[in-house]
Every structure is written in structure tokens, then in C-alpha cells.
């Protein structure tokens, strides 16, 4: 406060100077400069005071009391519930039909709520969860190899580099077993042993086999299970489905989420929908990078709308780079294709031991199959003897980058390493390998035009998943009342790195077994609230803001296509906010993203009209948000001066190149709060307390 008085004092003095300087032109000029500077400084003071009041907001994750293993039971025993006749009177909007969205919509409708379910695709079955290949984790311990709920919890916390909430992760491990039972009951054809029992495989970051799978199409089968449950409710009329509809805003009335504004993608019409609560399961924002393993339409716009309406965006910098993707091959490329992590069960990753061999391979003078065993460097087995090829994704990705940067990369670009199945084929026979991975091998061959049974696959890391997302408390509620966020779209369970086969687990845990409970604790207080009219001013305002934004984009009529600007953004993200980040690079990224934003808002070209089907317009609206997300990611990465999980700051590493965490300074979730357009966001901290697990430097070596 003293500071403010001083400034007021100075301002008065300046006023006097200006008044005294009657004719002297120079003095007047100088006074003007001082006046402007004072104004600016005062503005900053006001901002600081405002920010300080925001940052003193305590973030309450509402973690239940009690020992770790009893928190969830305690919660369920004491939470409020809604009785069956009241459920019928309550409407819930669910945005998204992936594993989280479809399972939530179906389960809520089964309970008796009235559900409105939105998706941007032509059918709920297309959501990108469908593309998950490898499997889903659960602590069943069917293999008798020492697994338990605690061990799955521990592996997940450790895999996430101690940047997730203990209570959430324990709950996730606890409900994992119910998911498997549920899916089996739905008729999901999981792989089985000859005795008729469920089969398991291993995944990165674990020393037990706890991954359930359905060929290389586990995501597809689980999603179709959830889709069938959803379809049953649609058939009964308990869920009303809105395909080809994109959410463009959340409507907040008296501090509570009460509906959404959506664009009907077929007609272009902007529509209003009311509900007592809004649940968003819209997936991750990996497509900020343009090239990623996400589907073409996957986007972060729903998350940004929640953020702009007051929901915190937590840990945006935590993005997962998946080690086994088909390498980039040309400028025309539209997306990257993942080769399942399950391949690392039997495939061995290597690069040539000698640089001259790598060079000869790059120019096509040498074939990988020509290289003798002793000339190959199985670098993961060398560096991490205990976990070998099954180290977590972030570790495997960085190791591949390290080899390629050092000049041992293969492929025409030098940005690829080998994933070799010759050992597995010799050991098990081609037929067994075909049975396990046939569809993946076929996919590889169709894209690359090489036979992976005969020559090693080439792989390179690519953006795959975002651990960051909308902040939610233990109840999966955002910082806006009545607004819930589930699945990849929230930030909750994976910390700074997600283990393989855990995304499916989290999506379904949220949708089947967590949200249907926790949302009732909120809705129990809402039973007296009547259905509101969508004619309310809040709906009209939100709709007008969307319409204005669409009009603005359509009116630019510049020279650049949406994709060309998106590619530009993607390159900046990959170069500076990708696998290796540093202060100078991140600052550069922030400056460059500003230029991209300017380019977009002054020079984008969207053909056609807004009142009809217009794919370029859809892409443009999403790109406008990707630009903001990109900036938020860079900002968060700059703030986090440590390396953890998928976030690797080159300045912070151990002598042998491993991520170096700083638990004293950064043991928190960085929650970014929107402060208005053009304003810098404010960062709040949710401190992560580790009561049950001792934090260690992650070690996959011994």
C-alpha cells in the first residue's frame, strides 16, 4: 500500500510540474512522457494487487479425510445422493463421446438422469479413443505376479514423476478392476488364454503383466462397449444425441454452469442448450503441434471455453511424446501414426553402434539387416538394464532423440531408430508374432511400404497425449460450479507423464465409476432448480459472442489457409516446446506464437459461408484456440524450472541426462487462471502433498 501512496505522491508532483510549465514546449513534452509512464506504472500496481488477491485464493482439491485406501469408500459413504424421482427432473449435458464421455452419458442415463450428449463426429463411435491400440491396465493380479491396487497406484504415481495427486491415483487403481468386469459383461472380446481366462501383456513402467487387450484394437473394443451402452440409452430415449455438433461456449448463470452454446456443423446454426450441470470429456490438445497421433478433428477448444469462463487450466506443459510412431516423411503429411507401445514387449530398439554405419544406412548403401549383432546398440537395454525396452514413454522418447541428435539416427532424415522383431520371430515364430501384432504390422506396411517381418520397423517420437488439462478437484468438478471435466481433457491422474494403457483406464474410471457418484454430491443441492429458459440474457450473450467470433473470422478474407498457419504453429511448438525445452527457446516460442496469432487474425482465409457446412471455418475456430493453448504451454514450461516426466528442461538434468526434479520449488500443479483477453493469465498453485509415498528420483536402471 505504501508503494501506491508514493506513486500517488509522485503523480501529484508531476501534475504541478505540468501546470507550472506554461509555455516551455520541451517541459510539456517531458511531462507528458512522465505522465504516460506513471499511468502505466499505476496500471501495473493495480494488476499486481488484483493478481495477489487471486493468488491468495486457496485451491481446495476436496480430498477426503482418512487413510489412502479408505478415502474413496469414505467419500461414497458420506456423499449426498439424488433420489430416483428427482433424477428425472435433472438434465446433464455431456460433451464428447469417447471413453469418458460415452461411459459417463450411458451411466448417468442408467441412473435416471436426463442426458444430452454432443459429439463433433457423425457418430459417437468415431471418437478418438477408438484409436488406442495396446491395452488397459487393471490391478487384477490374474497372473499371480505380485500386482495389487497399491502397486498399480505406486507405478502410476512414480510413472507420473510424482506430479499427480495421491488420492486421485489411488482411486483410479481401486476402480480399475471394476472396469474390466464391466467391459467383459458388455461383450468386449478381450484376448483370452486357451483355458478361457483373460490374457495379459506388459507395458512400459511396470514389472508385472497387468494390461488387458483386444488384439491391437483395445481402444476400439472398449469404446464400442461404451458406445453400445450409450446406444441402449439413446434407444430408450434417456439420452438425446447430438452428432455433428460442436460446443462453442459454456453458459454460466450466477456462477454455475447451466448450459452450452453449440454449432450444428451440418447447418451452421448456433444453438442453445440448458442443463443443470455440464460435463466435458473433449479429449486432449495434442493437435496444437499440427502433426500428432491425434485424430484430425481432435481439438482443445472446449477446454479453452471452460478456461475463459473461469475454469483453471492446469499443467498445460505436460505433453506426452510417444516413442514409437512412424517417422515424419514429407511436407504434405497430415498426421503421425502410432505404433503401439505393446510392440516393445517383443521388439528391441536399436541404432547402429558406429556413426559410419548410420550414415551408410541413411544414404541407402547399407541395410539394417546387414548389420551384425555386435554392431548394433540396443541403447535402452544398455542404459536401463532393469526395464530395458519397457521404460516409460518419456524416457524412451528422450533416449531416441539423444541417439539421433548424436548422429546415430537412421531413415532418410536421420530422425528414426529401429524397432526390431527378428529375435521375437526366431524365438516364437512368425505366426505367434502375427497373432499378437498382425494389424499393426499391416498398418506399418501400408504406410511405409516395407515388410516389418523382414526388416526392422523405423520409429520416432511424436506428440501423443496431453497430461495437462482443465483443473478438477477430487469430484472432477472444475473451478466453476456445476462444470465437470473428465478423461484426457482434465489434468488429474497422470502427473507429468502417463504410463501406457492408463489412458483407457482413466477415461473409463471417470465415466463409469467416479463421475456418476461425485456429480450427485453437486446435483443434490440442485433438485429445487427448475429447468431454465434458453431465452435468458446469459444464453443470448454467450450466443452473440460466438456469432461475433464467427463473423470476425469470416470477415478477415486474407491470403493464408487455416492449415498453413496451423503448420507454422506446429513447427514452433515442436522446435521449442517439444521434447527438449530451455529458457531461451521458450521465450522465442512465446514471441513467435504472438506473430502467428497476428497472422491468423489478419491474414487467414476461410472460404464459403458461416450458415452452412463449412469445414474450413470449423478448423479456423479450433486453430484460434490452439494458438492460445500453445502460448499457455510455453508459458507453463517456462515457469516450471525443473524437469519432470514429459516436461524436460535441458537446464535441469542429471549428469547422465535424466530428468532432474525440484520437489522443493515445484511440487505443485500450476493452475492458470484466465484474466481477460490480451491479459497475462495468473498462476495459482495446488501444492501436492505426499503423505503415503516417498518421492524418489525415478530409476528404471536397477
Amino acid at each position: 500500500m505504501a508503494k501506491k501512496e508514493n506513486i500517488v505522491e509522485t503523480a501529484k508532483e508531476i501534475k504541478d510540474i505540468i501546470v507550472d510549465a506554461v509555455t516551455d514546449q520541451e517541459t510539456v513534452e517531458a511531462a507528458k512522457i512522465i505522465k504516460d509512464a506513471t499511468k502505466e506504472a499505476l496500471g501495473k500496481v493495480v494488476d499486481t494487487i488484483q493478481q495477489a488477491s487471486v493468488s491468495s485464493t486457496r485451491i481446495d482439491a476436496k480430498i477426503p479425510e482418512g487413510p489412502l485406501a479408505q478415502k474413496w469408500s469414505n467419500y461414497k459413504d458420506h456423499q449426498k445422493l439424488v433420489n430416483p424421482s428427482n433424477k428425472r427432473r435433472l438434465d446433464i449435458i455431456v460433451v464428447g463421446t469417447g471413453l469418458a464421455g460415452a461411459s459417463a452419458a450411458a451411466s448417468l442415463a442408467e441412473l435416471g438422469f436426463n442426458v444430452l450428449n454432443f459429439c463433433i463426429q457423425d457418430s459417437p463411435r468415431r471418437a478418438h479413443s477408438i484409436a488406442a491400440q495396446g491395452g488397459i491396465n487393471a490391478a487384477k493380479n490374474y497372473q499371480n505376479d505380485g500386482d495389487s491396487v497399491y502397486r498399480l497406484f505406486y507405478d502410476t504415481i512414480k510413472g507420473g514423476d510424482y506430479r499427480a495427486r495421491e488420492a486421485n491415483v489411488y482411486r483410479l487403481a481401486e476402480v480399475s478392476n471394476n472396469i474390466i468386469d464391466q467391459c467383459v459383461a458388455q461383450g468386449v472380446p478381450f484376448a483370452r488364454e486357451y483355458g478361457g481366462l483373460l490374457d495379459n501383456r506388459s507395458f512400459g513402467g511396470a514389472q508385472v503383466s497387468r494390461t488387458f487387450y483386444a488384439k491391437g484394437q483395445t481402444g476400439q473394443q472398449l469404446l464400442l462397449g461404451a458406445y453400445s451402452a450409450l446406444s441402449r440409452q439413446i434407444g430408450k430415449g434417456a439420452v438425446k444425441l447430438f452428432p455433428r455438433h460442436e460446443m462453442l461456449d459454456v453458459v454460466v448463470i450466477d456462477g454455475r454452469a447451466r448450459g452450452i452454446i453449440a454449432r450444428n456443423l451440418t447447418t451452421g446454426k448456433i444453438e442453445r442448450y440448458f442443463a443443470h450441470a455440464v460435463v466435458v470429456g473433449s479429449g486432449g490438445y495434442g493437435n496444437t503441434f499440427f502433426l500428432s497421433t491425434n485424430a484430425m478433428a481432435s481439438n482443445g477448444s472446449a477446454a479453452m471455453q471452460m478456461y475463459r469462463k473461469g475454469a483453471y487450466f492446469a499443467n498445460p506443459a505436460y505433453a506426452q511424446i510417444h516413442p514409437t510412431c512412424i517417422p515424419v516423411h514429407g511436407e504434405f503429411q497430415s498426421k503421425l501414426t502410432l505404433m503401439s507401445e505393446s510392440l516393445r514387449n517383443d521388439g528391441r530398439i536399436w541404432t547402429p553402434k558406429k556413426k559410419e554405419d548410420a550414415e551408410a544406412i541413411r544414404v541407402g548403401k547399407l541395410k539394417p539387416t546387414d548389420l551384425k549383432e555386435e554392431d548394433r546398440d540396443y541403447y535402452l537395454e544398455r542404459r536401463y538394464p532393469a526395464f530395458g525396452n519397457l521404460v516409460p514413454r518419456d524416457v524412451a522418447s528422450r533416449a531416441a532423440k539423444e541417439r539421433c541428435d548424436a548422429g546415430y539416427g537412421v531413415g532418410t532424415t536421420g530422425l528414426a531408430v529401429y524397432l526390431d522383431f527378428s529375435d521375437a520371430i526366431n524365438r516364437l515364430g512368425e505366426n505367434v508374432v502375427r497373432a499378437r501384432y498382425g494389424n499393426l504390422f499391416q498398418m506399418y506396411e501400408k504406410i511405409v511400404d516395407e515388410n516389418p517381418y523382414k526388416t526392422p520397423m523405423m520409429i520416432y517420437p511424436a506428440i501423443h497425449y496431453t497430461m495437462g488439462g482443465i483443473w478438477v478437484d477430487y469430484e472432477l468438478q472444475t473451478s466453476v460450479k456445476g462444470l465437470f471435466c473428465i478423461g484426457e481433457a482434465n489434468f488429474s491422474d497422470h502427473g507429468a507423464n502417463r504410463l501406457g494403457a492408463s489412458a483407457l483406464m482413466q477415461g473409463l474410471a471417470d465415466g463409469y465409476f467416479v463421475l456418476p457418484y461425485t456429480i450427485q454430491n453437486y446435483l443434490a443441492d440442485q433438485i429445487q432448480v427448475p429447468r431454465m429458459s434458453t431465452e435468458l440474457p446469459e444464453f443470448a450473450e454467450a450466443e452473440k459472442a460466438v456469432e461475433d467470433k464467427v463473423k470476425k473470422i469470416m470477415s478477415i478474407q486474407g491470403k493464408c489457409s487455416v492449415d498453413s498457419i496451423h503448420r507454422e504453429l506446429g513447427l514452433i511448438m515442436w522446435d521449442f516446446v517439444g521434447m527438449g525445452r530451455n529458457k531461451a527457446g521458450l521465450e522465442k516460442a512465446l514471441a513467435k506464437i504472438k506473430e502467428v496469432r497476428k497472422e491468423f487474425w489478419s491474414n487467414v482465409y476461410v472460404p464459403g459461408k458461416a450458415d452452412g457446412l463449412n469445414v474450413e471455418l470449423e478448423k479456423a475456430i479450433r486453430l484460434a484456440d490452439f494458438i492460445e493453448i500453445g502460448e499457455l504451454m510455453a508459458r507453463d514450461a517456462l515457469n516450471r524450472e525443473e524437469s519432470c516426466g514429459g516436461h524436460f528442461r535441458e537446464e535441469y538434468q542429471t549428469p547422465d541426462g535424466e530428468a532432474l526434479r525440484n520437489d522443493d520449488k515445484f511440487s505443485y500443479a500450476a493452475c492458470w487462471k484466465y484474466m481477460g483477453e490480451g491479459q497475462e493469465p495468473c498462476m495459482l498453485k495446488e501444492y501436492l502433498e505426499y503423505e503415503f509415498v516417498k518421492r524418489q528420483q525415478r530409476n528404471y536402471k536397477a
Binding site: A106, D122, Q182, P189, G196, G330, F332, D449, E616
Partner: protein, 251 residues
């Protein structure tokens, strides 16, 4: 190494469901044979946008052959000339330099065109809504290993369940029949113990819905299975017929 080709495209353009459509011809130069068919379409669209023209509308999403969103009738074949893949996995190396490629939407009474190459496949969702599920609510189900399932049965159910719901089977069928799609779901659930309780009711409900939505009858031409990108076998249609008949006899 990278090779490029020049091609001519004849693409179906249709402004809306009720508008009259026609073929437009486009020339494309220096297309890398390593690019996918949809990447080639992206290049064409970028070209159209640079000429201030409206790009061609087509459905696509995952671009790795699993979401079932992409469609396209290419040179008379659903998902193009290559076998066992979707359009997004089709690569330009399957085409010759100087070739003319004809691209059309799915043509089937039950899949009306929305715009250009995009069609409405909502009918498939409606068939599933009629009975393509096991009626279990979330929670209260037995342990996953409570009922052993013989591996061959589980594997066969998995093969049937690989259907991606793209619509190629109905689009390929001269009768516009959705039998392979319906058969895949009926068969998957009939093979598994979890599907037994509703087995007969499911077959009847799904077939009735299929008929109601305007799909044609099956005359066993086998075009559906030949064009299926996921290689779903026609033997599932035989199983559906058995399921349907035995359900009717029980009535």
C-alpha cells in the same frame, strides 16, 4: 525413394442433400507416391483454397484406419483399389502416373449425401440402438474371469467386432443391404456367453430396424465382404441367418 506422379481427378460435387450434383475435373501435379490418398485430397483442397474456391467436403478423422469416418468410392471401389484398408490408409503408390481417378460418395438409399463426398450414416447408429448391446447397467457385474470363454470363440467374436461401421458393405452391395454390418454385431454377441440372454431378441430387433431404415435384402453376392476394410467374413451373415431363423421359429 520418393517418386511423384501427375493425376486427373473426377470428383463428385454436390452443394447439399437436395441439390443436383455433378463431376468436376481437377488436375494435380507432382503428388508424392508416399502421400496417402487423403493427403492428396488435402493438397487438392489447399489448391482450391488458393484459387478462392470452396474445398471438397469429405469425412475423415483418425487417419489410421480405425475410426470408420472416411469413406469414398474410388474408381468404383469403396475405400479404393487396395485390399483390407480404409481410404485414409490408401497410398498414392497404388496409382499410376497420368491416371484419371474417379471419386464418389457412398451411394446407398440409406446414406443420403450431406455435401460433396460426405454422407449421413446415422442409420447404422439406429440399428445398434435397436439391439446391438448387452443390457447391463454400470456396476454389479460378475468378475471378468467368472465365465471362461474358449479362446477360438473369443477370437472369432473379436474378428466380428473389428467392424468399424464405415458403411462400405452397404455401399458396395447392389441391393444396398446392411447385412454384413448387422451380422458382425449379432455374431459377436451370439458367440459370447454374455450375449446369450438377449440372443434371439437382438437378432430380430436389429434385422427389423435394418428393414425399416430402407436397406435392401441380401442376395449373397459377397461384395460386402470383398470390400470390407476390416476383412469381416461373410460367414457371419450365415450365422445371422441362423440366429434370425431360430429366433423366428421360437416365436
Amino acid at each position: 525413394m520418393e517418386k511423384t506422379i501427375n493425376i486427373t481427378l473426377k470428383v463428385w460435387r454436390q452443394a447439399g442433400p437436395k441439390e443436383k450434383g455433378s463431376f468436376e475435373t481437377y488436375a494435380l501435379k507432382n503428388i508424392s507416391t508416399d502421400s496417402s490418398f487423403l493427403e492428396m485430397m488435402d493438397i487438392l483442397n489447399e489448391q482450391l483454397i488458393s484459387e478462392r474456391k470452396e474445398p471438397i467436403v469429405f469425412d475423415h478423422d483418425c487417419r489410421e484406419g480405425i475410426c470408420g469416418m472416411c469413406s469414398l468410392y474410388i474408381n468404383g471401389h469403396p475405400h479404393g483399389p487396395d485390399g483390407e484398408i480404409t481410404t485414409c490408409q490408401l497410398h498414392m503408390r497404388k496409382f499410376k502416373d497420368g491416371e484419371t481417378i474417379t471419386v464418389e460418395p457412398w451411394r446407398s438409399a440409406a446414406f443420403p449425401v450431406i455435401k460433396d463426398l460426405m454422407v449421413n450414416r446415422g442409420a447404422y447408429d439406429q440399428i445398434i440402438q435397436a439391439g446391438g448391446f448387452v443390457s447391463v447397467n454400470t456396476g454389479g457385474v460378475p468378475d471378468g474371469n467368472a465365465i471362461p470363454i474358449p479362446k477360438p470363440k473369443a477370437d472369432e467374436a473379436m474378428d466380428a467386432a473389428s467392424c468399424i461401421g464405415c458403411g462400405a458393405c452397404a455401399a458396395a452391395c447392389k441391393n444396398g443391404s446392411a447385412m454384413l454390418f448387422v451380422a458382425a454385431k449379432v455374431s459377436q454377441l451370439a458367440l459370447l456367453p454374455q450375449g446369450q440372454v438377449e440372443r434371439a431378441a437382438r437378432a430380430k430387433a436389429m434385422v427389423a430396424k435394418m428393414d425399416e431404415l430402407g436397406f435392401g435384402n441380401c442376395t449373397n453376392t459377397g461384395a460386402c465382404a470383398a470390400e470390407c476394410p476390416k476383412n469381416v467374413s461373410i460367414s457371419h451373415i450365415a450365422r445371422l441367418n441362423r440366429e434370425f431363423l431360430s429366433a423366428k421359429f421360437k416365436d
